[in-house]
């Protein structure tokens, strides 16, 4: 004879004898599911705490003066420190180059005598177009979206970038004809 645990309460008519135990287990699983869900929610919220909503950094989109202020063949470094962007005007138009080296993210220097961007960290070199030609950099400098605002000022949008190796320099926005 095996011993059977007594039910937690008397079964109602028409109900299986262990209904009390069954309802106990279903309440237990509900409790565990809610507990796990609340722990996951608390964990997610805590992780989210590490991602601030407001950054005290320069905005991604900024106005960069009038295109006439730029001289042909001269790298404009006014926005290098504040926005990490070089503006370059050539015969046909203007483009905005990222100052972030494509090797490991240092900031190259523009050497006007040698007509190249040279990174001080590991020696990567880029032509004025942004194409890499020496050192460990695996790809050209990125370009940012450039356009003209209604007031005639240049608008640089760092939220949209164009990579030469993906053929994106041909896309509209990578180059402003002027």
């Amino acid at each position: 004879m095996s011993k059977v645990n007594p039910p937690l309460r008397a079964a109602k008519p028409g109900e299986p004898a262990d209904a009390g135990r069954r309802s106990f287990f279903s309440w237990m699983s509900l409790a565990w599911v809610s507990f796990t869900a609340s722990m996951l929610a608390a964990g997610t919220a805590t992780a989210r705490f590490m991602f601030p909503n407001v950054l005290f950094e320069p905005p991604l989109t900024f106005r960069a003066g009038r295109p006439e202020e730029l001289q042909v063949g001269i790298v404009d470094e006014r926005f290098k420190d504040s926005n990490q962007v070089w503006l370059v005007r050539e015969g046909g138009g203007i483009y905005a180059l990222s100052t972030t080296c494509t090797h490991l993210g240092c900031t190259p220097n523009w050497l006007s005598a040698e007509q190249k961007f040279k990174c001080p960290c590991h020696g990567s070199g880029f032509y004025i177009t942004g194409i890499n030609f020496e050192g460990p950099a695996p790809r050209p400098l990125e370009r940012f979206a450039i356009s003209l605002a209604d007031d005639g000022q240049l608008v640089i949008d760092k939220g949209r970038k164009f990579q030469q190796e993906k053929g994106q320099w041909e896309l509209p926005g990578a180059y402003l004809e002027f």
Partner: protein, 271 residues
């Protein structure tokens, strides 16, 4: 006269010692008395909050310097030195862009015992070296084998924590070397699989055609730096991680590490 003699006799070192050993203060500190038997010695080890992490018995051959190199012990000693000197440095160093660099200069030029920061720095270099040598020793002597494989795992985490402590401390002087080293180092986090916005799997985390779920303002690197570049927030985050977060985790795991040495059959040698 005889009373004075009695008093002087009672002040003899032997009697004084006995009196001290019978006092409540002494007995509250040293509860099992002077351990004269092996059983008493074991009780001392087991009953002490610091010593109980250690093995009760150590094989003489197991602690030969040629065998252990004492690298684990040296690593722990360096950790204590770094905790102490780091605590002292915290009295002067302010983790803001305005003050960080000048406070470091100040620590060398104006604060007495100007080598405090150098002790901390060289100690940190030494700890990275000693922790590697400890790992080499454990590997060479086969001390990672069962039942010690769990402790090997704990040790690997401690190695990573040591390197992270070294990395976070690197930024704090806030000079050019610090700035660009952390720029380069944190750029690696961009390539974290499924958590860095340029990492493998990032292009799978998109909504529809080309709305990315993670960007440069929501990936692993951003969480590390508190921004999109190494700036004010990065300095603060690295400071908090360096001084509080990582040492806490490392201290906890070190307790586990030492405890497991005891549980797994002593420092080293065959079981």
């Amino acid at each position: 006269m005889s009373q004075l003699k009695e008093l002087l006799t009672s002040l003899s070192p032997t009697k004084l010692g006995e009196a001290i050993q019978k006092s409540q203060i002494y007995r509250s500190v040293f509860r099992v008395g002077v351990p004269v038997s092996d059983r008493k010695r074991m009780l001392v080890m087991l009953g002490n909050v610091f010593l109980h992490l250690h093995p009760v018995k150590v094989r003489k051959s197991g602690i030969r310097l040629r065998f252990t190199w004492c690298m684990g012990g040296i690593t722990f000693f360096l950790f204590l030195v770094l905790t102490f000197t780091g605590l002292l440095l915290m009295f002067y160093y302010r983790p803001t862009i305005e003050y960080a660099y000048v406070d470091i200069i100040d620590l060398r030029e104006q604060v007495p015992l100007g080598i405090m920061r150098e002790i901390h720095r060289w100690g940190a270099h030494a700890m990275v070296i000693s922790v590697w040598l400890h790992m080499v020793r454990v590997f060479m002597t086969g001390s990672y084998k069962p039942p010690r494989e769990f402790n090997w795992g704990v040790g690997v985490i401690l190695l990573v924590l040591t390197l992270l402590l070294s990395f976070t401390g690197y930024l704090l002087p806030w000079d050019q070397l610090a700035m660009w080293a952390i720029t380069v180092g944190s750029n690696m986090a961009r390539a974290t699989p499924f958590a860095g916005y340029e990492g493998p799997g990032a292009n799978l985390l998109t909504l529809g055609e080309n709305i990315p779920l993670i960007s440069s303002t929501s990936d692993a690197r951003f969480a590390l730096l508190g921004g999109t570049r190494v700036g004010e927030m990065a300095l603060l985050r690295f400071y908090v991680l360096h001084c509080v977060g990582l040492p806490l985790v490392a201290g906890f795991l070190m307790a586990v590490h030492f405890w497991r040495i005891r549980r797994d059959g002593g420092i080293s040698g065959p079981l």
